[in-house]
């Protein structure tokens, strides 16, 4: 029979283990995206808005003027923004309610993924606006990029606010 390891002997604790435990917010480049997207089944959901956004941008650009595609585009666009906001809300909540360790990393994935989805959603909105179809009719022709820039500025502000508030003690 082997004796259980002494929990007070920290010989097995290495830099990687400690790093996993730190409460430091992970930067975009520090998040192991490939691992999150391919290995953890629950995190495969992160790929959902990304794929959705790419599909949306392609369909908007190619078929945005055809009325037959409007309800599909409307649904996809709302799904994308909804998923983005859900991910952001979940990430911000997790970030505030879990102390350290893996949870803060998962929270970061949700937060970054959510803001990324919102940005992609904004891009899709801009592409669609350029095709002069719903829901961007109010963005007059020639001004769609100002709408896009405004959205980006707003998202950037919200993202920065969230990030700063989370890191503020």
């Amino acid at each position: 029979m082997s004796t259980p390891p002494d929990p007070w002997d920290l010989s097995e604790v290495d830099a990687h283990t400690i790093q996993q435990f730190t409460h430091q917010p992970l930067g975009w480049q520090d998040i192991p995206w490939a691992e999150h997207l391919s290995h953890h089944w629950h995190n495969r959901w992160v790929s959902f808005p990304i794929v959705l956004a790419v599909v949306l941008v392609v369909i908007s650009g190619r078929y945005g003027r055809q009325p037959a595609f409007h309800s599909l585009l409307r649904g996809l666009w709302l799904a994308l923004l909804g998923t983005g906001w859900l991910a952001v809300a979940l990430g911000e909540w997790q970030y505030r309610h879990f102390d350290a360790g893996q949870w803060s990393n998962v929270a970061q994935v949700h937060r970054w993924g959510g803001y990324f989805s919102l940005s992609l959603g904004t891009l899709a909105y801009g592409v669609w606006g350029r095709r002069q179809t719903w829901p961007a009719q109010h963005l007059a022709y020639g001004r769609w990029w100002w709408g896009f820039v405004s959205w980006c500025a707003l998202l950037f502000g919200v993202g920065l606010l969230g990030g700063l508030l989370s890191s503020a003690h």
């Binding site: 350290a100 405004s150 950037f156 920065l160 503020a168």
Partner: protein, 158 residues
């Protein structure tokens, strides 16, 4: 190519962004000080402070707490404060420090810091730790009524 004058929505978004961002970025505080970090682990607040020996000695003098017998005036101090409901706690504690490459600083099995001022003002744990330039990872393990807890910090020394 001439860009049109931006519409009111653009300026509104810019203004709103400014209004949101400026007060937050103006908020400094010690959260931005890498040598003074806080973490909440369950109901325990863990504070880690890395400071010069002279600054530490001055703080202790101000609090009228004698320095530990083996205090070395040249070696920087890693100070750890464990608090529950804003009161310092005494418990078993161990600290493990590694550099960015994973090499342990001090004992690989962990270092037991010195408890200072257990019944006086500002009870804390201290460890004299000369660290050269680089990034270090620090794990603080301690016992609470909820069981064994760990807090980890990333300390950039410049």
């Amino acid at each position: 190519m001439h860009l049109p004058i931006p519409p009111a929505s653009f300026w509104s978004a810019m203004l709103l962004t400014g209004l949101l961002v400026l007060p937050v970025s103006a908020h400094g505080g010690h959260s931005k000080d890498p040598y003074h970090q806080h973490q909440q682990v369950k109901q325990t607040e863990v504070t880690l402070q890395y400071q010069r020996a002279a600054a530490y000695a001055q703080e202790q003098k101000k609090a009228k707490v004698p320095l530990p017998a083996n205090f070395h005036a040249q070696q920087p101090v890693l100070k750890v404060v464990l608090q529950r409901e804003h009161k310092g706690i005494q418990t078993r504690i161990k600290i493990k420090v590694t550099d960015a490459q994973g090499k342990a600083v001090g004992s690989a099995a962990g270092i037991t810091p010195t408890l200072v001022s257990p019944s006086g003002a500002d009870p804390h744990y201290m460890l004299q730790l000369p660290l050269s330039k680089g990034r270090y990872f620090i794990m603080v393990q301690f016992m609470t009524p909820e069981g064994l807890q760990r807090a980890a910090f990333s300390l950039p020394v410049s």
